[in-house]
């Protein structure tokens, strides 16, 4: 795609809103809502199937921002992140993302994402996959802990997961119908510099994002910042479910910073909102966050939720002597 064409495609005002129509290969959008619900149930069932007890991963409640927290070595986390929204001049949609995150080392976490979306009055489609790796750069704990993030993604332009915002990503990306956008597959390399600190129970994280389409397109940039804290810093002496030590609350802010050709805030979208995590003892972790668009290029509200379950010490299953 030539640069001017790309630029006009990315800029919100330059693209005509196409009324969504029912695609030939469509399935009802409730179909995927049902599948997403089924996936949640599957993850909840894992606690019955997984022989090891699940972990209380002390992860911050962020949906877009990454912190220094890596998966513990040998653990496999299965998560379903969902996003639903009803953007202006576009059909409501639901975008589920299945995550498989494995702690390869204490300093290296690798993760695969499988993504899809269902748009009301349109279709249900698979939109692609991502493979990411996070590396803790420095041993030990510091005031600021840098983590390097490298990702390869192969997703269609119909992807609506909004796992990050870069370049001129805007509400107009959500207004194309699936038949039109699914054919355009974007293969991109993404790097992030994750800076994160844990201070007196608080976590502060800042991400600087750069993304490059493998085709001849300019670098795109974005940012994400967040802070969170458990509701209490001291554990109770008895196991409990609805006690404060199992909740973490925080807030995050993220958005695009345009491209290498026009770095800045012009024609970019930004979101902010609170987020909360609920860690069920020896069970899954539930997360929820309403995120609000901060300008005209952003969708009004993104409703995000997450169900994750950590299967402990998967690698022990393959060691002599059994898993447990």
């Amino acid at each position: 795609m030539a640069w001017p064409e790309f630029c006009s495609r990315r800029r919100g005002g330059a693209r005509k809103v196409v009324p969504a129509r029912r695609a030939i290969d469509n399935k009802s959008s409730s179909d995927l809502f049902g599948r997403g619900f089924g996936l949640c149930l599957l993850i909840l069932l894992l606690q019955w199937l997984a022989p090891a007890r699940s972990a209380q991963a002390q992860e911050p409640p962020y949906f877009v921002t990454y912190s220094q927290a890596l998966e513990e070595p040998g653990n496999l986390e299965v998560a379903m992140k969902g996003l639903t929204a009803s953007p202006k001049d576009a059909n409501a949609f639901f975008s589920p993302t299945l995550e498989l995150e494995y702690g390869a080392k204490a300093w290296w976490t690798t993760e695969v994402y499988l993504q899809g979306q269902a748009t009301a009055n349109d279709s249900t489609i698979f939109t692609g996959f991502r493979w990411e790796n996070r590396f803790r750069v420095l041993p030990g704990e510091h005031w600021i802990n840098p983590v390097l993030y490298l990702e390869y993604e192969d997703v269609s332009a119909a992807d609506k997961s909004i796992l990050e915002v870069v370049g001129h990503d805007s509400i107009s990306d959500l207004q194309l119908n699936n038949a039109e956008s699914r054919g355009e597959v974007e293969r991109e390399l993404e790097g992030k510099l994750i800076l994160s600190s844990n201070v007196k129970g608080w976590n502060f994280s800042e991400n600087f994002i750069s993304e490059k389409n493998v085709k001849n397109e300019p670098w795109e940039f974005g940012y994400a910042v967040a802070a969170s804290r458990p509701l209490t810093l001291v554990a109770g002496k008895r196991p409990c479910v609805f006690c404060r030590q199992n909740f973490t609350a925080g807030a995050e802010l993220y958005g695009g910073l345009a491209t290498a050709h026009d770095f800045g805030l012009d024609a970019t979208s930004h979101y902010a909102g609170p987020a909360v995590n609920f860690n069920l003892p020896h069970g899954p972790t539930l997360g929820f966050s309403p995120q609000f668009g901060l300008n005209d290029n952003s969708a009004g509200v993104l409703w995000r939720f997450k169900v994750s379950y950590e299967i402990q010490q998967v690698r022990d299953w393959f060691r002599r002597g059994g898993a447990r």
Partner: protein, 131 residues
């Protein structure tokens, strides 16, 4: 000739690993951290809370009895018994990432002290049962 160099390299690496696996992290602990005092030392409530935290966060690698599993170290070993509370707090905060021990700085500091209090109660149990 080439195979000799490879053998020598393997020998040096093996020696390095042997020496690295002997609790080398203890030498990295700054004096100020080494002398830190556990604010919950001896508290039964803190030990009970530490047990809950230990079950959720530590038992998967170190075993529910803290004796270690699949090559991961026992927390009732002489080395851990003789380490100061401050040294254990330093290890929980910083981890030993190249040896597989992650940093637990995401746990609030009071909870890390509660875990150490629980470990001490386990060690006391072990010592009283042997005497």
């Amino acid at each position: 000739m080439k195979s000799r160099w490879i053998a020598a390299g393997c020998l040096v690496l093996s020696c390095a690993l042997v020496f690295a696996a002997d609790g080398g992290w203890l030498r990295k602990v700054p004096d100020a951290d080494r002398k830190r005092v556990n604010p919950y030392a001896g508290s039964a409530d803190a030990a009970a809370a530490g047990r809950v935290l230990f079950d959720e966060n530590c038992a998967k690698c170190h075993g529910e009895d803290a004796l270690g599993r699949h090559g991961r170290p026992s927390l009732r070993s002489e080395r851990v018994i003789h380490a100061t509370d401050g040294e254990l707090a330093w290890l929980l905060r910083n981890g030993s990432t190249w040896k597989g021990m992650p940093s637990w700085s995401s746990l609030p500091e009071p909870e890390r002290w509660q875990i150490i209090t629980y470990l001490r109660s386990l060690q006391r149990e072990s010592m009283s049962s042997t005497h």
